[in-house]
C-alpha cells in the first residue's frame, strides 16, 4: 500500500482526519484553509460524518467543545485571525479536559494582516491567547506526508491526554500539492462504544451510580488549585513524551539553523548552497514547538559557533531557542515578515555574512 496520490495540502489534511476516524468537522471559511472546509463539506457526509459550517469562529470552538464533551472525535480548522477568535474556547477546553484537534493554516499578521504564508502565530499557538494556566501541544510538520501522518495521529494524542492538540502549518503547505501516501482508514468510534472508550464522556448516566460532570468552572480556590495541579501533571507528561526534532549534521556544524515548517524546507536547500561555499551547517527542525525539543540543543558540540533561527516572523521561536541554548552559543535571527517567503539564495547570503563575524 504505497500508492502515492497528488493532493493539495488542505485536502490531504481533511482526508487524513477522515482516515483517522474523525467524523465531526466544524469550521468557518478563511484563506488559506478554505479547501479544507470545502473538502470536509463534500467528503465527511459521504462517510456518515457531520460537517458544520458555523456562523463564526467563536461558534466553531464552542460547537467542538460540545462534540468533544459528548465523546466525538472532532477537527476544527482556521487561519491566524480566526484562531485568535477561538482562544477563549481553547482555555475552556483545557480546563474541562476536552479533546479537540485544532489545525491552524497560518497566514501573516498582525490584525487581518494578509493571506500569504506566515509563521507569526508561534506565540499565539505556544503561549495561547486564552486565559489561565493551560497548555496545548503544537505540532509543526514540514512536508505534506508528515502533516498527513501528524493529523492522523493527533486524535489519539488528544484522547490520551484529554486535551486539545494543535497542528500549525503555514499557508504555503495548505496551498501546495505534493505526493502523499495516505494512511489506512480506521473505523470511527461507534456511538455505543463511547461510554467504554471515554468513560468521562457525557453520554447519559445509564446504570452508573453517579453522573459524569464536565465543567470549566471551579467553585472555590482549593478545587481550582487541585485541578490546575492535576492539569500540570498532565502537561509534565506531555513535556516528557511529546517533544520531537529532526537533527541534520549538527555535531560537526559551525552554524546550526533552527527552523520549522516551510522555513525548514528552504533551510535544507540553504545548507547545500553553504556547503559548496565551505560553511559547515546543521539543522534542528522542531516537529513540536510546545513542548519545545530542548534536548536537541544538548547535541551541539564545541565546533558550533552560532545558532540561527530562521522564521517567517519577526522572531518568536527564537525565545524558546535562547532558553534551550542557555547562553552556550550566540543566537541570531534570519527572517522575513508580511507573508514574504525568502529564497534559499537570500538566506544563504545573509548567513554567509553572519558567520564571518564569528569565525
Amino acid at each position: 500500500m504505497t500508492r502515492k496520490v497528488l493532493m493539495k495540502g488542505n485536502e490531504a489534511f481533511g482526508e487524513a482526519a477522515i482516515r483517522a476516524g474523525c467524523r465531526f468537522y466544524v469550521g468557518y471559511p478563511i484563506t488559506p484553509q478554505n479547501e479544507l472546509v470545502e473538502y470536509m463539506s463534500r467528503e465527511l457526509p459521504e462517510h456518515g460524518g457531520t460537517f458544520i459550517q458555523s456562523e463564526s469562529e467563536l461558534a466553531t470552538i464552542n460547537i467542538a467543545y460540545g462534540i468533544g464533551v459528548a465523546g466525538g472525535d472532532c477537527l476544527i480548522s482556521s487561519s491566524s485571525p480566526g484562531i485568535a477568535l477561538m482562544q477563549e474556547g481553547f482555555s475552556f477546553a483545557c480546563m474541562a479536559e476536552v479533546p479537540i484537534v485544532i489545525l491552524n493554516v497560518s497566514r501573516s499578521g498582525p490584525g487581518i494582516g494578509g493571506i500569504q504564508p506566515g509563521q507569526s502565530d508561534y506565540f499565539q499557538m505556544t503561549r495561547g491567547g486564552g486565559n489561565g494556566d493551560y497548555r496545548i501541544p503544537v505540532f509543526t510538520p514540514a512536508t505534506m506526508q508528515e502533516a498527513v501522518n501528524t493529523i492522523y495521529g493527533s486524535f489519539e494524542i488528544a484522547n490520551r491526554y484529554r486535551n486539545p492538540v494543535s497542528i500549525m502549518v503555514d499557508g504555503m503547505m495548505g496551498q501546495m500539492m505534493e505526493p502523499v501516501v495516505l494512511p489506512e482508514a480506521k473505523a470511527p468510534l461507534a456511538e455505543e462504544r463511547i461510554a467504554a472508550e471515554k468513560p468521562w464522556a457525557l453520554v447519559g448516566r445509564g446504570t452508573k451510580p453517579t453522573r459524569n460532570v464536565i465543567k470549566a468552572y471551579a467553585p472555590n480556590t482549593t478545587i481550582l488549585e487541585t485541578q490546575v495541579l492535576r492539569l500540570f501533571k498532565k502537561y509534565e507528561s506531555m513535556e516528557a513524551e511529546l517533544p520531537e526534532a529532526v537533527l541534520t549534521d549538527v555535531e560537526d556544524a559551525e552554524m546550526v539553523f533552527v527552523a520549522y515548517g516551510s522555513a525548514a524546507r528552504i533551510v535544507a536547500e540553504v545548507m547545500t548552497i553553504l556547503k559548496e561555499r565551505g560553511i559547515r551547517t546543521g539543522l534542528i527542525r522542531p516537529k513540536t514547538v510546545w513542548p519545545f525539543p530542548n534536548g536537541a540543543f544538548d547535541r551541539l558540540g564545541e565546533r558550533t559557533k552560532i545558532v540561527v533561527s530562521v522564521e517567517l516572523s519577526m522572531g518568536q521561536m527564537i525565545d524558546d531557542i535562547e532558553r534551550a541554548v542557555r547562553g552556550r552559543y550566540p543566537v541570531r535571527l534570519i527572517n522575513r515578515a508580511g507573508g514574504i517567503i525568502p529564497t534559499s539564495e537570500e538566506i544563504s547570503r545573509i548567513a554567509e555574512e553572519m558567520i564571518g563575524a564569528y569565525r
Binding site: M172, Q175, M176, M177, P179, S262, I266, A268, T272, T343
Partner: protein
C-alpha cells in the same frame, strides 16, 4: 540532461495556467519523479494574474520555492515581463504568441513562441490553448513522456468533464501539426 525542472507557468486567471503546472506535477508523479506544485493564491481570478511553481525532479526536493527557473511558460505579456529575468542562461522560455506581440528581451535562452490560442481555435477548442502550450513544452523539452501527460489529463478531465478529454488530448498534439 536536466534532472530538476524548476518551472514557472504564468498568465491571466482563466487561461488555465494552474492546470498546466498541475499537469506537469501529475505527469511527473506518474513517472515516479519527485514533484511539488505551489499556486499563487489570493486576489487572482478571471482577468487577474495567476502563476504557479512546479518542480519535477529525479532527486528529493527540499524547498518548493525556487531561486531561478529553467523553464518559464508565459501566457500573457505581464507574465513574460515579470518572469523572463528568472530564467537560467541557456534554458527555456515558451510564450503564447497569440497574445504576446512583443519579443522577449533575453537573447541567451531557448525561446519558443507558440500560437496557442490560434491552434486551439483551429481545433474547435479555444479554451484548450493551455493544453496546446503544455504539449509544445513537453515535445520541445522532453521533460516528461507524452503518455504520462495523457494519463494526467485523464485525471483532470473525468466525471462531468470527461467529455472534454478527447479534445484536450488532441490539443496536446496540436503543436507541430
Amino acid at each position: 540532461m536536466i534532472t530538476t525542472w524548476k518551472t514557472i507557468v504564468a498568465g491571466f486567471g482563466g487561461q488555465g495556467v494552474l492546470t498546466i503546472g498541475r499537469m506537469l506535477a501529475y505527469a511527473g508523479m506518474i513517472e515516479d519523479k519527485e514533484v511539488t506544485f505551489i499556486p499563487s493564491y489570493g486576489a487572482e481570478m478571471r482577468g487577474g494574474t495567476a502563476n504557479c511553481t512546479t518542480i519535477v525532479s529525479d532527486h528529493p526536493i527540499s524547498s518548493p520555492v525556487i531561486n531561478s527557473a529553467n523553464l518559464v511558460v508565459a501566457m500573457n505579456l505581464q507574465s513574460l515581463v515579470k518572469f523572463e529575468a528568472m530564467i537560467d542562461t541557456g534554458m527555456y522560455l515558451f510564450y503564447n504568441s497569440s497574445v504576446i506581440k512583443t519579443e522577449p528581451t533575453r537573447n541567451d535562452l531557448q525561446i519558443f513562441p507558440i500560437p496557442a490560442n490560434e491552434q486551439a481555435s483551429e481545433l474547435g477548442a479555444p479554451r484548450s490553448a493551455n493544453i496546446v502550450m503544455l504539449g509544445a513544452v513537453i515535445r520541445r523539452t522532453n521533460m516528461l513522456q507524452l503518455d504520462s501527460v495523457e494519463s494526467a489529463l485523464s485525471k483532470e478531465f473525468y466525471g462531468s468533464k470527461a467529455s472534454l478529454l478527447s479534445k484536450n488530448i488532441e490539443a496536446l498534439y496540436a503543436f507541430e501539426q
